[in-house]
């Protein structure tokens, strides 16, 4: 069951990611990205991280991408012009992407023991729920990084307000 889910949604994520690159219209690209995010949410779910899956859908698919689509609609962006692309991009790009892919795979496989692993075969069956454990980790051991991140987000919001005020 989990293997079937993984195969279907893994393939869907890859296909949608490719579709995002190949589509010429910004809205179609944005929607492909939504499909990628929702497939990822299903993958998280099948690994037993149901809170992460729900958060992924609410935050990324439901809020961030809606804003993307909103902006594309508001600016009424047209179709992109298809160019031949620069030579350097095609010569260096594909080998470069392949090299990064190989490097990442190598590192992940090599440090497999340190990263830990999870079962593909079902949800987390502990005494307390997944959510409780995440909350416990966030508000005890990881409290400082958590708070620093929230300050960082606040700085970003203030920066956006300052930039927008200059324009008005």
């Amino acid at each position: 069951m989990q293997i079937a889910l993984f195969t279907i949604f893994g393939l869907l994520a890859v296909i949608a990611a490719l579709n995002m690159l190949l589509q010429r219209h910004p809205i179609n690209s944005a929607l492909s990205l939504v499909v990628v995010m929702m497939s990822l949410a299903v993958l998280y779910w099948s690994l037993g991280a149901e809170f992460l899956a729900a958060a992924q859908i609410i935050v990324y698919a439901g809020a961030v991408m809606v804003l993307f689509v909103f902006v594309v609609m508001l600016l009424n962006a047209g179709e992109e012009q298809r160019t031949k692309g620069s030579k350097i991009a095609s010569i260096a790009g594909f080998p470069g992407a392949a090299a990064i892919f190989c490097l990442l795979t190598f590192i992940f496989l090599k440090n497999r023991a340190a990263l830990g692993n999870t079962q593909l075969s079902g949800l987390y069956n502990g005494a307390e729920s997944n959510l409780t454990r995440i909350a416990h980790a966030l508000f005890t051991n990881l409290l400082l990084p958590f708070e620093v991140t929230s300050v960082l987000v606040l700085v970003a919001i203030l920066g956006a307000v300052v930039l927008a005020r200059k324009e008005l």
Partner: protein
């Protein structure tokens, strides 16, 4: 008697539950439309639909046949795939969220809960997530119609739904804090101790959260007084101007299904779900058997029905907001109030424990 494995029983019962809930929801949607037309008519001192069948009761059937048989117009300048996908997204998202709702007391048969399709431990988050995906239906319909009024309608709607989603989500945090769980079944159980006294709106002191939720929910479902996306005096019909026949009907059904979902969630979170307002006072009368299982469903349906009547009453009473008032109300009033509510609830809970 054929012997079935546990998984087969689970599968069969789940498919059966989905079919029954789907049929009931769609029927409820059709009759909510009739109810709205009837009640609105009475409030405006006229009859409402009264010709088809006794008291106009077959009007939804006639409407359905009419919508099925109408010509499905496809304007030339639309973005075809998205134009077709948008109503499907809207209706699918509206119907998915009903699957999390527990509409009766916990009754298991062969290990399967009969009165809830899916009991998920982050059920509330799933409902919020599916609702936020539903925005795409409206956004894409307006954009792909290639019509200025549709685009304006969908831009308004998207902005409104994103803004009010924050207040909506934050208004529920007080309830989650009290229940200590995101599972809708747990939230209902946390309010079932002493009948109406332990419901979140009375005993839980979540009345502020309830009113924030109610107002944000009206805005989320694009109902009056927040129905700017389809303001007919300004935008023809808003995002579904170019739609006809069944595609239009799907938007219409999605709107009413969303209304029912929102009413269900309000019932579950603030009014004790399927529990009776008299608590366990009447338990000794029907300790077992059919009535014991069905009575909670009656209470649930009664509460949801009251919310739908409230919706219609509000529509008949309040005029539409102006756009800047709408945004100001959401961001400057509801959102800070929701945060204060969270803080107060958390402080009370911390002092009590």
């Amino acid at each position: 008697m054929i012997h079935l494995s546990a998984f087969q029983i689970f599968l069969l019962l789940t498919v059966l539950k989905i079919a029954v809930v789907l049929v009931i929801t769609l029927t409820a949607v059709a009759y909510t439309v009739l109810l709205e037309r009837k009640v609105l008519g009475r409030m405006q001192n006229r009859w409402g639909p009264s010709r088809v069948g006794p008291f106009g009761l077959l009007q939804p059937l006639a409407d359905g046949i009419k919508l099925f048989l109408k010509e499905d117009l496809m304007p030339l300048a639309v973005e075809r795939p998205l134009f077709v996908a948008a109503p499907v997204i809207a209706l699918a998202c509206a119907l998915i969220s009903i699957s999390m709702v527990p509409f009766g007391a916990e009754t298991t048969y062969q290990g399967v809960d009969l009165f809830q399709i899916a009991n998920i431990n982050v059920g509330l988050l799933i409902i919020l997530g599916v609702t936020s995906i539903g925005v795409y239906g409206i956004a894409l319909s307006g954009w792909s119609s290639n019509n200025k009024y549709s685009l304006f309608g969908s831009l308004r709607s998207t902005a409104q739904v994103i803004s009010y989603e924050l207040a909506l989500g934050l208004s529920l945090v007080g309830v989650i804090l009290r229940a200590g769980s995101l599972s809708l079944r747990d939230i209902v159980n946390s309010q079932s101790a002493h009948g109406a006294r332990s419901w979140n709106i009375f005993g839980g002191l979540q009345i502020v959260g309830f009113f924030i939720y109610l107002m944000a929910a009206y805005a989320e479902t694009n109902r009056s007084p927040f129905d700017l996306p389809e303001a007919e005096s300004e935008l023809v019909a808003g995002y579904h101007t170019e739609y006809s026949s069944m595609k239009f009907a799907m938007f219409f059904m999605a709107e009413y299904a969303n209304m029912i979902t929102v009413a269900c969630v309000a019932t579950l979170l603030f009014f004790g779900g399927a529990s009776s307002p008299f608590g366990h006072l009447t338990d000794h009368l029907f300790a077992t058997g059919f009535i014991h299982a069905v009575l909670p469903i009656f209470w649930f349906v009664f509460k949801v029905f009251s919310f739908i009547l409230l919706y219609i009453w509000v529509r008949a009473t309040l005029p539409r907001f102006r756009y800047d008032q709408l945004m100001g109300f959401g961001w400057k009033f509801l959102l800070p109030l929701a945060m204060v509510n969270i803080l107060a609830t958390a402080l009370v809970l911390a002092f009590r424990s």
